[in-house]
């Protein structure tokens, strides 16, 4: 497969467009899921959608993806409502409720699927693709559906941007301002379910949650602004979709779901390590730098303690007398000299005027650092 195939091959173009749009909407809505601490709700809902697909086929006998996805949407919503029912009305905790709905709905879905398989006349082959996703089966109408859903959710998100944001960060304040928090809450959840459902065909029920989470978790590392995060997550999602599809198409049609998820995971790992503000690498570098700085200042303060007893600040002292002090090396002495805090002459050192003042004010927090 050549790169140019993406622009010339009709099927490939459709699929690539589809996964790109899907990645974008998942990243966009996933940001809300991650910030609302509902990361695993997506996992439960996507599994809960399976019986909907199977039952929709059982009752209608149609394999039209719109019908099946409608079934998925309904059963996903039932799952969401039930989870809320369990959490608010009983003493079972959220994790138990999620695990319950996830596994029980999925098991029931499997039961219906296996029942369908045994039916002699029904041609159910192809329903399996909803487990791990098969982007190759996307056709133009599927992509149109994705584009429409993305458009609607984008419009709703922009329309309710202020409300969504307020609800995310300060729910109590939102309700005192008179916003109908239950409505807005329901609206966000509805669109998250919708995003999950339209992704089922491409990524599959098992891995759909990662599609929702990973781009958002990666985007979170680069910014502290909600708008920027949503935008970045959409971009990351889009790239995961496109790269994932390309890789899975190159290798003899591997299931798309796992490949896309792994690409998204790479984005997450890179973001965790290399993001300048929160990344592990820069955090570690900052830590080491701070530690060195502290050592340097400790040495300086030790010198100050020696110099203090003499009238003449610039009187040289032998480096030897520092030996009882642990925190110095040739390197730190040179670093101190570079900062113009001390002067080194042969085997002697002396504090400069500037160094003396710095040391004097080292633990004086009232003076702002210049």
């Amino acid at each position: 497969m050549e790169l140019t195939d993406f622009f010339t091959d009709y099927t490939l173009r459709t699929i690539t467009l589809g996964t790109a749009v899907l990645g974008a909407i998942c990243g966009m809505l996933g940001s809300f899921a991650v910030l609302r601490k509902q990361s695993l709700l997506g996992d439960a809902i996507s599994h809960a959608a399976l019986p909907g697909i199977a039952l929709a086929f059982l009752f209608t006998g149609l394999k039209d993806s719109n019908v099946l996805l409608l079934g998925a949407l309904i059963s996903g919503l039932i799952g969401t409502v039930w989870i809320r029912g369990i959490v608010t009305k009983t003493h079972l905790k959220t994790d138990t409720a999620l695990g319950l709905i996830l596994s029980l709905f999925f098991g029931f879905g499997e039961l219906v699927l296996s029942y369908l398989k045994k039916q002699p006349d029904a041609n159910q082959a192809g329903l399996d693709k909803y487990l791990f996703g098969q982007a190759a089966t996307l056709v133009e109408s599927d992509v149109m559906l994705m584009v429409i859903v993305t458009g609607i959710s984008l419009a709703v998100m922009l329309l309710f941007w202020k409300e969504f944001k307020l609800l995310l960060f300060d729910k109590n304040y939102a309700s005192t301002l008179g916003f109908n928090t239950r409505f807005i809450d329901g609206l966000i959840s509805f669109f998250i379910v919708l995003a999950i459902v339209i992704g089922l065909q491409t990524v599959g029920v098992v891995l759909m949650s990662a599609m929702l989470l990973a781009p958002a978790a990666a985007a979170r590392q680069w910014t502290n602004s909600l708008g920027m995060m949503v935008l970045l997550a959409a971009v990351f999602g889009m790239f995961s979709g496109v790269f994932g599809t390309a890789i899975s198409a190159t290798y003899n049609n591997l299931s798309t779901g796992p490949v896309i998820v792994l690409v998204a995971a790479v984005f997450v790992v890179i973001s965790f390590i290399f993001s300048p503000g929160r990344g592990i690498l820069f955090k570690q570098i900052r830590l080491i730098r701070n530690r060195r700085d502290l050592e340097l200042k400790k040495t300086l303060y030790f010198m100050y303690g020696i110099v203090e007893k003499h009238e003449d600040i610039s009187r040289p002292h032998a480096i030897r007398i520092l030996n009882s002090f642990q925190g110095f090396t040739k390197g730190t002495l040179r670093a101190l000299a570079d900062k113009n805090w001390i002067e080194i002459k042969g085997q002697d050192w002396s504090l400069t005027e500037e160094g003396f003042e710095t040391a004097q004010n080292l633990y004086n927090t009232n003076i702002p650092e210049s």
């Binding site: 991650v34 601490k37 509902q38 990361s39 695993l40 997506g42 996992d43 599994h47 029912g85 369990i86 009305k89 009983t90 003493h91 079972l92 905790k93 994790d95 138990t96 999620l98 695990g99 319950l100 996830l102 596994s103 029980l104 709905f105 999925f106 098991g107 029931f108 879905g109 499997e110 039961l111 219906v112 699927l113 296996s114 029942y115 045994k118 399996d128 487990l131 791990f132 098992v206 891995l207 949650s209 990662a210 989470l213 990973a214 978790a217 979170r220 590392q221 290798y251 591997l254 299931s255 779901g257 796992p258 490949v259 998820v261 792994l262 995971a265 997450v268 965790f272 929160r278 592990i280």
Partner: protein, 385 residues
């Protein structure tokens, strides 16, 4: 041994082996860890299979269980960086590991019977036919041996460390103060959960093992608050669903593991709706009663505050407290039935009992001390429960 009995036996053993660690996972609010483990042992199983070429080999089980532990460690490591919340950490780790497993199968192992579909739901139907052969003797299905060994180990550990496990589940602070290591208990439980998941994997698959762990425990938790009873109940639910699920599957001619889960789902639904005192219906009923009781209290306080007959006429009350007609009538009836008020010519009077009650309530509201409410609980129906 005939295959029907073998399948039922394997199903029962699996559900019991899953139910026991499940109870502790639910109580420790770690139910989703079982989901994570069950997904991420897949790469361990695949790699183990490449090495041993035998799905029931103990080495494969250990290797896969080890990858379950790695998941737990990885999730905790990500949480510790503080970059994302706990649930996001779980949600990031297991799909990635699971994807690696699925792809390994697709690329290298597409011709063996480890296909991705079986990974999700397992093949209880075939588990009975994979016999353990030593020489030419058949010693029953392999998975029966692995699962019963795991169950025995689980039971032995449960009896040996019951006290420690209970303590560290309900009061981590106290248990570490007493010198039991909660960390050790945590990883012990995780190891048991991993091993159980791995051996159940062949029979019921990655996702249904989650159902077998969580659903019986969750249903039992709605029925009792006693740990012993909870364990027994969840074992019972597990066995009932295994046996019921098998016959349901035979009748429907469908997947056994799917049907076991469906039966579990029905059990949970019934318990969720009808559990005494913690079920949905009981909770809704109680909430409704409490609402009326609070209304009654408001009503009595209102009466206490107003002396003039004008303010205490039935019609006026409806306007004043702003209740609908039905609600006012319910409250009036309730108060009258409890001898707190009597109504003469449409004017409401507090009785002696009503007055006493109101004063106690006022006392409670003003001081906000719990001991004031204790008397009220005994004397009146209000604040019961």
């Amino acid at each position: 041994m005939n295959s029907e009995l073998a399948i039922i036996l394997i199903a029962c053993l699996t559900s019991v082996a899953c139910a026991i660690p499940g109870v502790f996972l639910v109580l420790r609010k770690m139910a989703l860890i079982s989901d994570a483990i069950s997904h991420s042992i897949l790469p361990g199983i695949v790699i183990g299979f490449f090495i041993t070429e035998d799905l029931a080999s103990p080495w494969l089980i250990l290797l896969a269980a080890f990858s379950g532990i790695i998941t737990v460690v990885l999730v905790e490591a990500i949480q510790k960086t503080g970059l994302v919340k706990e649930d996001t950490a779980i949600g990031l780790v297991f799909p990635a590991l699971f994807s690696i497993g699925v792809l390994l199968i697709a690329i290298y192992a597409s011709d063996i019977h480890l296909d991705a579909d079986a990974v999700l739901v397992g093949r209880l139907e075939y588990a009975a036919f994979d016999q353990l052969m030593i020489g030419n003797e058949s010693y029953g299905p392999k998975s029966m041996w692995t699962i019963s060994t795991t169950l025995l180990i689980t039971l032995a550990l449960l009896f040996a460390f019951y006290k420690e496990l209970k303590l560290s589940t309900f009061d981590i602070g106290l248990s570490s103060a007493l010198g039991f290591s909660p960390v050790l208990m945590h990883y012990g439980l995780m190891s048991i959960a991993s091993v159980t998941t791995v051996v159940s994997f062949d029979a019921v698959g990655a996702i249904l093992v989650v159902a077998l762990m969580i659903a019986p425990a969750a249903a039992a938790y709605l029925l009792t608050t006693d740990l012993n009873k909870m364990i027994l109940l969840s074992v019972l639910f597990g066995i009932v669903s295994a046996v019921g699920g098998y016959y349901f599957a035979v009748w429907l001619d469908a997947s056994i593991s799917g049907s076991i889960t469906t039966v579990l789902g029905l059990i949970f639904l019934l318990v969720y709706l009808f559990a005494p005192s913690k079920g949905l219906i009981a909770v809704l009923f109680r909430q409704k009663r409490q609402r009326i009781e609070v209304s009654l209290l408001t009503f009595l306080l209102h009466l206490n505050n107003h002396d003039s007959e004008e303010e205490r006429r039935v019609g006026h009350l409806q306007e004043h407290i702003n209740w609908g007609k039905v609600r006012s009538q319910t409250v009036l009836d309730l108060a009258e039935k409890n001898n707190m008020i009597n109504v003469q010519n449409q004017v409401v009077f507090l009785t002696k009992k009503g007055l006493e009650f109101t004063e106690k309530a006022l006392d409670y509201i003003i001081t906000n001390k719990d001991e004031k409410i204790e008397d009220m609980k005994n004397d009146f129906f209000l604040f019961r429960g």
